[in-house]
Amino acid sequence: MRSTRSALLAAAALAALVGTAGCGSSTPARSGGATSASDSAGVHGTVTVLAAASLTEAFGTLASQFEAAHPGATVKLSFGASSALAQQIIAGAPADVFASAATKNMQQVITAGGASSSSNFVANVMEIAVPPKNPAHVGQLSDLARPGVKVALCQAQVPCGATARAVFDKAGMKVTPVTEEADVKSTLSKVETGEVDAGVVYVTDVRSAGSKVTGVPIPASVNASTEYPIATLSKAANAAGAQAFVAYVLSPAGRAVLAADGFEKP
């Protein structure tokens, strides 16, 4: 009798032990990133994101969604030409995430030790933007080479400027702009104010400008595309926040926002 009772007690104790051990090891599965409550405890503070100017609207939306999912986290966005941002990071500007409009600028940062690796998250192609009244009657790509047509381009070292020039090379055209702007949004605003007859910007910029500009599409046969890489920076002050933000951008929810703005798959 005694041995059976102690055997039963031992068995019960063992079962209880196994049971509690089993409970402790399981964790809730992580969803796309926007809704899991368990990781919000780890993501807090400010996440500083340096992003290409063309990502202004999309990243604004993504940042709001990220902050809503992670109370206690604030996303500070700074937009500019990827070439300028890359130089700033190399010079030591404090930031957690870098999203570039071209792999070339990300490579500069990686070579300088600012980041270890990156992931391409979207691609973008070019489009001609003209003021709504289209004063120079620009209807196709070849119109940009017409004498007297004032064209605004981005500077050659800026991704949108390099890609625009790639389009001209493919089409075998020589276009002399009247001004070379520092980033794609400056080029767009020159078109919006009507100071130039046309500007070569991304399709996403034409879309985001809405009724302020009219888009003249570039045929796919001569159009050029650029890949956008994103990376957490080596010297990030908020590494956890940086990784969470990058994960969100790469998640299905993040990709949906970018696709809705007109970005293509990488």
Binding site: S83, Q155, V158, V178, T179, E181, T193, G194, E195
Partner: protein, 257 residues
């Protein structure tokens, strides 16, 4: 002795960035970096535009200064405030205002555009206009101060001797204020040479037409800092030469700045 410490700090603050520029300058490859056409083109354009802007500032600024100094009208204080506004206005804001006024669709610019098909943005003339806008107030304020402190008795003496107003101005007043006029012109020229925000906003940025030295440095910084440092050295050298050339006039006792 107590003043020496903040004075030394102030001096060091101004000196150290210039020293850093000299220390980090690519002295050995300097000739190569500068002989690239972009740098010299930008330099020539900068010098031409700054000089043109100074000439315009003198032509319009001296009469304006005389008006502000001598004419007693109600509201002259308001006029002076407007003239001084570009001094305090951020240059980019000045450029934007010029664009809204004189651009192709600008409040005033659109008349010129519809009549002649000509608009100032993206032209070298546009650069000169932008530089004049930001630099003229320096000249006006310097010359106004000089005219105010000029001895009126000398002018009155000329008048009693039968000199016309123009003759009095050209033979008496102008020589009296000449040191201040020159100092004001130098300030104006230096300000015009260094103008960035208004130029890039109003005139745009294109090598040979509107890309002045500051814009060229900004451009170069994004692709390769070395040419940018070389160009900066050139600007520094020009500044030193100009200041040295007018050293005597600058520091002559009695020259009202």
């Amino acid at each position: 002795m107590l003043l020496a410490v903040p004075a030394a700090v102030g001096f060091a603050f101004l000196l150290l960035p210039l020293l850093a520029l000299l220390i980090r300058a690519p002295w050995r490859g300097l000739g190569e970096l500068l002989s690239g056409s972009a740098g010299l083109t930008a330099l020539r354009l900068s010098l031409e535009c700054a000089t043109a802007a100074t000439v315009l500032s003198v032509l319009f600024g001296v009469p304006l200064a005389w008006l502000l100094a001598r004419v007693r009208l109600p509201g002259i204080g308001l006029l002076r405030a407007v003239v001084l506004l570009p001094l305090v206005l951020p240059p980019v804001v000045g450029g934007l205002a010029l664009l809204l006024a004189l651009g192709r669709n600008g409040v005033f610019g659109r008349f010129g555009y519809s009549a002649f098909g000509y608009s100032l943005p993206f032209t070298t003339a546009g650069v000169v206009v932008a530089e004049t806008f930001v630099a003229m107030p320096f000249l006006v304020i310097t010359v106004e101060g000089a005219i105010r402190s000029a001895d009126r008795e000398l002018e009155e003496a000329a008048a009693t001797l039968g000199a016309s107003r123009f003759r009095t101005f050209s033979r008496v007043t102008l020589p009296l204020i000449m040191p201040s006029l020159l100092a004001g012109a130098v300030l104006c020229w230096a300000r015009a040479l260094g103008e960035f925000g208004a130029t890039i906003t109003f005139a745009g940025n294109f090598p040979g037409t509107t890309q002045t030295m500051p814009l060229a440095v900004y451009n170069a910084l994004e692709s390769d800092p070395q040419p940018a440092v070389a160009l900066s050295l050139v600007l520094l050298l020009v500044a030193v030469v100009v200041l040295a050339a007018l050293r005597d006039r600058w520091l002559r006792p009695g020259s009202a700045l």
